[in-house]
Symmetry: C2
Subunit: 404 residues, 2 copies
């Protein structure tokens, strides 16, 4: 009889968003007259930019004619897109990343879950706490995380780096030396980030101890402060210790379009082995490229029109973020994030747990957010609101919260 991958049996249920859905559903059934406002989602709501729509229509037409039809994409992605990425996301910031160090993918979720496959199972991972759950879950599936302790909600072989108000949400070097360090900056869910000089310390640390940094920059487009790096490759020495993952989901609203990329510098080696070569092999064997139409859509985000339209879109969401942050402050909450990221992280009042505050907000203000404890044990006592709703709803939600 065949065997299953037993690591899957260790995974605790993924109940965060399903529990939210159940609670909201029960509330609306009991209170059909109440209008719920959802500020819990991490999904965008604004439509695709006109420049992107135009590029996609054009690409669809190309696919309808034999002379301009496109079949299998090149393994790394189309050169037109990789060149645009290298130029606009790296060269323009003084980072020496070439087009053939970029691997086009269907999104940062896939990349951040898959990248661990090219590393040994004996490696020890370190994650910020709280953080996007995919990093840990994909390592559980691979058998890298040891045993789960349901009381502490932690894994025995995972190094947790708490990021709370006590340390200003800046992860500290762990006591035990990790092999693989996941950094999501600006961070989901806290909306906070670190400065370029703080990031430089992490790069130096990784090079010193022989660790690899998996750098998830999905929220880079929301950075507004000058001292925050837009890429880890702005730091000296990052090319020998870091893989950077980027997404078009949040800067261009591509959550339903699916596009991202991974940067694996050619200078990145484990002994004599090139990680670039390994990822190329993984990419070529287990993935078949993002659709031509989608890669053309990605290219359009770098055109002058595309850039201008996306700047407006980001500004729209960041106006929501400012509205939430200001409103919460006025209502007396301690709030974090929202300056370099579309997430606002609030401390729950009066020692409420994250779930208690969820119920309170749902019942009293009919507003839905996300309990911080769903992102890791150090998220307990915090709560996430997102800026991805409409401005009108955001404003209305804050009015309700202020009235509590």
């Amino acid at each position: 009889m065949y065997k299953i991958n037993e690591n899957y049996q260790k995974l605790p249920g993924s109940y965060l968003f399903s529990t939210i859905a159940k609670k909201v559903s029960a509330f609306t059934t009991a209170n059909p007259d109440k209008k719920i406002i959802r500020l819990g989602i991490g999904d965008v709501t604004q439509p695709l930019a006109p420049a992107v729509i135009e590029a996609m229509h054009q690409a669809v037409d190309e696919m309808g004619k034999a002379e301009t039809f496109h079949g299998y994409a090149p393994d790394l992605g189309y050169e037109f897109l990789r060149k645009a990425i290298a130029e606009h996301d790296y060269k323009s910031r003084g980072c020496e990343i070439s087009a053939d160090e970029i691997f086009v993918s269907d999104g940062a979720k896939s990349d951040s879950a898959n990248i661990q496959e090219i590393f040994g199972v004996e490696n020890k991972i370190a994650v910020c706490d709280p953080v996007y759950p995919v990093y840990v879950d994909s390592n559980v599936m691979a058998g890298r995380t040891g045993e789960y302790n349901p009381k502490t909600e932690t894994w025995s072989k995972v190094i947790y780096m708490p990021c709370t108000m006590e340390n200003d949400f800046v992860p500290e070097f762990p006591k035990e030396t990790p092999d693989m360090i996941y950094l999501c900056l600006p961070n989901n869910p806290t909306g906070t980030t670190i400065t370029k000089s703080q990031l430089q310390e992490w790069v130096d640390y990784a090079n010193k101890v022989g660790a690899i940094i998996i750098y998830d920059g999905a929220y880079e487009a929301y950075i507004s402060e000058a001292e925050v790096a837009h890429s880890i490759y702005e730091c000296d020495g990052a090319q020998t210790c870091a893989i950077e993952l980027k997404s078009f989901s949040k800067n261009a609203g591509f959550t339903g379009v699916r596009l991202g990329y991974a940067v694996v510098p050619k200078a990145l080696k484990c002994g004599e082995v090139s990680l670039h070569g390994m990822w190329a092999r993984r990419h070529g064997t287990k993935f078949n490229g993002a659709p031509y139409i989608v890669q053309r859509a990605g290219e359009a985000t770098y055109s002058p029109e595309g850039k201008a339209q996306l700047k407006e879109q980001v500004a729209y969401y960041m106006k929501n973020a400012a509205t939430i942050k200001q409103g919460l402050k006025e209502a007396g909450y301690m709030v974090f994030g929202g300056v370099n990221a579309p997430y606002i992280w609030l401390k729950t009042p009066e020692k409420m747990t994250s779930w208690e505050f969820f119920d309170y907000l749902l019942e009293q203000a009919n507003v839905v957010g996300t309990p911080g404890s769903g992102f890791g044990p150090s998220g307990e006592g915090y709560f996430r609101l997102t800026a991805f709703g409409s401005y009108e709803n955001t404003l209305a939600a804050l009015e309700r919260i202020k009235k509590l």
Copy 2:
């Protein structure tokens, strides 16, 4: 210092298509006046059907308006597509597969490479020989295949099931009992397949010995003979032993659009563990769904117009297949396949190796094909031609071959 996944170091170079490219490039440089015809590719050349183009334009427009914008897709894929698949690919053939047993993906390559992740590394795999290389390569990466023997070009822990003219290309039950059996039917590269009653024997065998069948039906649309099953679920008992993978690449020309699906029946269990639940967890953690636009394109392939247009497209390629097969026969070759698949498999003449025949065909007829040995040791002495070129080129290539 972090460690890499050492299994990658065991992989021999993937030289098949790069060696072909180098040889063709050298030949054209030396013979700039010769016009090369390529019948080696597995990629389609006909443009997308009008019904698909129309659906994509409409979906692009939806993405440009806030009211009809689509963000993250549901984990399993949109219901409109899963319902269409269940109805047209299963219910219409008497197979009881429901929409929620279907997982929409970005293609059969990804699915066939990823599906092994939910199984234990101690499982022993069996593959037809020759076959699509992704099955073995993805298992090498996972550490399931033992050591590589460069002389025999085989892996110590892989069970090879030779499919040659001697056994009429029908795989035989292996002496050693496998845990996971990969079947690609109709087969790439041989273009041959087995009857429904022969497939039933495999289903019975798998249920008896406790093996799982990974059934890759990527070429199903090319089946022309009545006794060949279009789905493994036409066989009794397949729901308790088989996962079926399907692709839109070859029936609808989606190689650059990227869409496929996996069927994991709810009745499929390893002891008490539901494989459906495991694949759902893997899908939800390591993948974020095919683009909305692409899922609408997939739906359009099931409309009356779409079906009629795709029938024509398949007929176009199968006319090429018939042309190749007939032409090769007239030229005195032994040929196989080409009836239920777009691939023609020929026995090389005069005990030439696959690569010797490659050189001969390139130099004497300026026609490019694929050496059979690239698909496994039992492919040695065979050669693959594909029906995916234009009719004019196919005809011209065969005229040249006949003149040799």
